[in-house]
Symmetry: C2
Subunit: 197 residues, 2 copies
Amino acid sequence: MTHAERRAQLIQVGRAVFAKHGYEPTSVEEIAREAKVSKPIVYEHFGGKEGLYAIIVDREMDSLYLRISDAIAEGSPRQRFEQAVLAFLTYVEDEPDGFAVLTRDAPMQMRGRGMPSVISDLGTRVRDIFNEQFKTLGYDAKVAPIYAHALIGMVTLVGQWWGSDPRRFKKEVVASHLAAIGWMGLRHLPQKPQRIQ
Amino acid sequence: MTHAERRAQLIQVGRAVFAKHGYEPTSVEEIAREAKVSKPIVYEHFGGKEGLYAIIVDREMDSLYLRISDAIAEGSPRQRFEQAVLAFLTYVEDEPDGFAVLTRDAPMQMRGRGMPSVISDLGTRVRDIFNEQFKTLGYDAKVAPIYAHALIGMVTLVGQWWGSDPRRFKKEVVASHLAAIGWMGLRHLPQKPQRIQ
DNA sequence: AGACGTAGGTTACGGAGAGGTAAGTTACGC
DNA sequence: GCGTAACTTACCTCTCCGTAACCTACGTCT
């Protein structure tokens, strides 16, 4: 096997193993065993466990960003919203291992702001999109991150639940319900929500 | 120190350590060290790492359930909804370590249905509440779990984000925005959401 | 043809730290 | 004085990350 082939194989195998156990409980030996190779090969290619993990997370994040970016490229706001949700679920469907890696606990060096998993970083990106929209619509842009994280949390947990048994619902059905609650929630937002009572 | 006191202390210390590192990366030795005690004491009280962890999770789940149950005990539906969200955030505020334990990766024996963390079990309980409401309102009760998990994911991720720096927003502000998007989303739900385009 | 360099790979080991346990120790009430 | 509750020291075994040293097949150049 050539260098590049082996590298690609290790990334694929590593992703599956990390998805199964999470970062800490997976051993380099198990990855090597699954790849039918000995341990030093992994170290030669990635320098160690964390190096391999970092590359896997990076690739998955890129893949997810790309899918969502494409999805919101055009259409009415309502269409973009629904397309983004659908793209997210499509990622969950196409790359269950990658999604699992992104939602499981990351190693300590990668944890930011009390968020144990990597996927919460999506919140900061979505916030930027919302900031813009909020300003033009006359809402208070300061609270945009609340809504950003709310939507990410929504699609992430539903994605995990749906992805654990995709035969329960068709992807499009889940996406339309998810888009409905999110869109309607945003659409009918009062300018200044007040606590009732 | 008496048996009960020591036990209570170990639960408290263990919760903090599990919250900091997650299940796998914490060692019994570290818990013992933080409690200024030797390792066999932990084994005497809880039988091992997993025993201590199970008790901690159980207590925290009970605590969270109790808070939310109290919150939705009375009031209009809209009030109950908002009170539930506020109760959740209050838990995040009062018990940051407990909340962190619930959101971090659980050991493999405790993972169910592809959900790595324990808190997703809330989804199944919320589903039961929704089932009832959905039927009386004429919606398709089959999709209730979608909305249940959507709401849990929403408050959980926002809770993590807000809890990592609570000074950004007052708890009541976050709760009202969260309740607004959730409530308005549910309130203006079409009977049968259709994918646009 | 035959020596040789190199890419790709293995075996074997070191050091550290994990979970868990057996045996022994202190202190205190009776 | 003695039993018991609370606790410690010391250890066993296992597994992990990471590395040093060695090996093998194959194309190439003389």
